[in-house]
């Protein structure tokens, strides 16, 4: 790891720091208590600064993780000895931190692989506490578990650093006011709380997958983080539920298409026109594997149906061979359960493939309140185009054009409008 170009070192170090920062913040917050999360973050920040100072001449140690953990442990022990924490520690291990007999051994124990995973899991549950808004949950996950800075989160959400800082600040107030801890939910609440975590990971993933963010790298990062955390849930028997596997399967199928979704110029390639050879076979296989695991038990979760739809696409060799009837059935089931407007739009598009575009137009026009939604308008215009009503199609594409700020989408709609002339 000590050789290679300077830029490589930077890349390795950047990636390492982000990932390890997430782990260390989780562990230290578990030790200090959720209320002292700011101080846990301070320790991690100091540790990373120290590492940069020591490693800046390219001398990255053989085992950089161990180096970071060692430095963080020492700082933490120092703070505990001096009783510098802002809020009293109130956790199941607080006693072990009070006596020199057990302080250092307890910290060593907390930094072992299993305990690190355990801390991350606890942190995930805590971040997805019902008293936080969905936005706050995702922000908190990205900040504490994924090691993103407020600036980076702001960039990912096309927002600014200040807004994110304020959101984090309010969340911390809430942690203290409502005395939220890093304890595991009881056995009764486990499934329900895991579902809440899954929902947040799903939204985090969608933020990466569907967002119109101009930077591809940021989008892929968000998806990767969502998958990593989902995998962590699968590794633990408490949270390895059928729906956890279904969600990871769904993510694998979606990400398998990453390489084919944009062309060389960064323009969007629609599912119909994607080169399926570019789909990542390994990820599709993984998706199939997790979908199999998800089939245990009697309960059907929305993720099962969404994963089944994604699987139908991923495992079909060409657009023409797609089993639209089956996919339509799945969408009908999903719509019955969720009443989600995006599902309704998607279902109408599938109806167009399965039973003809006229039916799709009727269905789409029945949906109320989406005239300001870009995707609704492009879907409707596409259907008009296919039935030969180019004039109406062009008009609606024109409307859609006003509703997006994404360059890739604007370019795609412009191309479509040209086809209508």
């Amino acid at each position: 790891m000590s050789s290679g170009k300077n830029s490589d070192v930077h890349k390795i170090v950047d990636h390492l720091f982000r990932r390890e920062a997430g782990k260390m913040v989780s562990v230290l917050t578990r030790i200090f208590g959720f209320k002292n999360i700011e101080q846990a973050e301070d320790v991690v920040q100091d540790t990373i600064l120290k590492a940069l100072e020591v490693w800046k001449f390219g001398k990255v140690p053989e085992n950089p993780e161990a180096w970071l953990y060692h430095a963080a442990k020492n700082k933490a022990i120092d703070m505990l000895r001096r009783q510098q924490l802002k809020y009293k520690i109130d956790s199941d291990i607080s006693y072990l931190l009070k006596s020199e007999y057990t302080l250092a051994p307890a910290l060593n124990e907390m930094f072992t692989e299993n305990e690190i995973k355990d801390s991350q899991l606890r942190m995930m549950f805590a971040c997805c506490n019902a008293s936080f808004t969905q936005e706050a949950q995702i922000t908190l996950i990205l900040k504490t578990l994924c090691g993103l800075s407020a600036k980076e989160i702001g960039k990912a959400f096309l927002s600014n650093e200040e807004t994110i800082q304020k959101r984090i600040y309010r969340t911390r107030e809430k942690i203290r006011e409502e005395n939220i801890t890093l304890d595991y939910p009881g056995a009764n609440a486990m499934t329900q709380r895991t579902d809440a975590v899954l929902k947040t990971l799903y939204l985090l993933f969608n933020e990466g997958y569907h967002s119109s963010h101009p930077e591809k790298l940021i989008r892929e990062d968000l998806c990767e983080e969502a998958m990593r955390l989902c995998l962590l849930l699968i590794e633990n028997p408490k949270t390895n539920l059928p729906q956890t596997n279904a969600l990871l399967a769904l993510m694998c199928y979606h990400v398998s298409r990453f390489g084919a979704r944009l062309d060389d110029k960064g323009l969007i390639v629609l599912l119909k026109d994607q080169d399926r050879n570019q789909w990542n076979k390994i990820l599709i296989e993984k998706g199939n594997e997790y979908l199999n695991y998800s089939a245990i038990g009697k309960m059907v979760h929305d993720f099962h149906i969404e994963a089944a739809i994604a699987s139908a696409h991923a495992n079909t060799t060409s657009y023409e061979n797609t089993d639209w009837k089956m996919i339509l059935n799945l969408y009908d089931t999903l719509l019955n359960r969720t009443n989600n407007p995006m599902v309704a739009i998607n279902r109408a598009v599938v109806l167009g493939e399965a039973e003809g575009c006229h039916k799709a137009i009727t269905e789409l026009e029945k949906l109320k309140g989406f005239t300001e939604n870009c995707y609704y308008n492009t879907s409707l215009a596409e259907m008009y185009m296919r039935v030969g009503d180019k004039e109406t199609a062009k008009k609606i594409f024109g409307k859609a054009l006003e509703l997006t700020s994404s360059n890739a989408e604007i370019e795609l709609i412009r191309r479509k409008m040209k086809m209508c002339s």
């Binding site: 006596s99 007999y101 057990t102």
Partner: protein, 116 residues
Amino acid sequence: MEKFLYLFRGGENHAHNANDSEAAAKNMQAWGAWMQDMQQKGILAGGEALQPTGKQVNGTKKVVTDGPFVEAKELVGGFLLINAKDINEAVEISKGCPIFHENGKVEVRPIQKMEM
């Protein structure tokens, strides 16, 4: 519930040389487990390990000398405060102490309550 003091004497390894050998590190892990167990049961009330050096301040003249110079097996290596029903229970609890694997000893002393 009464309070008792455990005074630990002797034992090949103790907290002060916990990093010196694998055997000592293992021994301290056993201490950690023992103490965690006592904490969970609400027995443990406090305590620290001690370094094997120090000073002594003596008599009316408060003469300071180096010390404690006693035989290693008599040296106090640490103390704990615990809660127990009576001396018998305190003794029973002390038998879980890993110091006995090391041929050390525990002195169990009831805390004196001061009458008003």
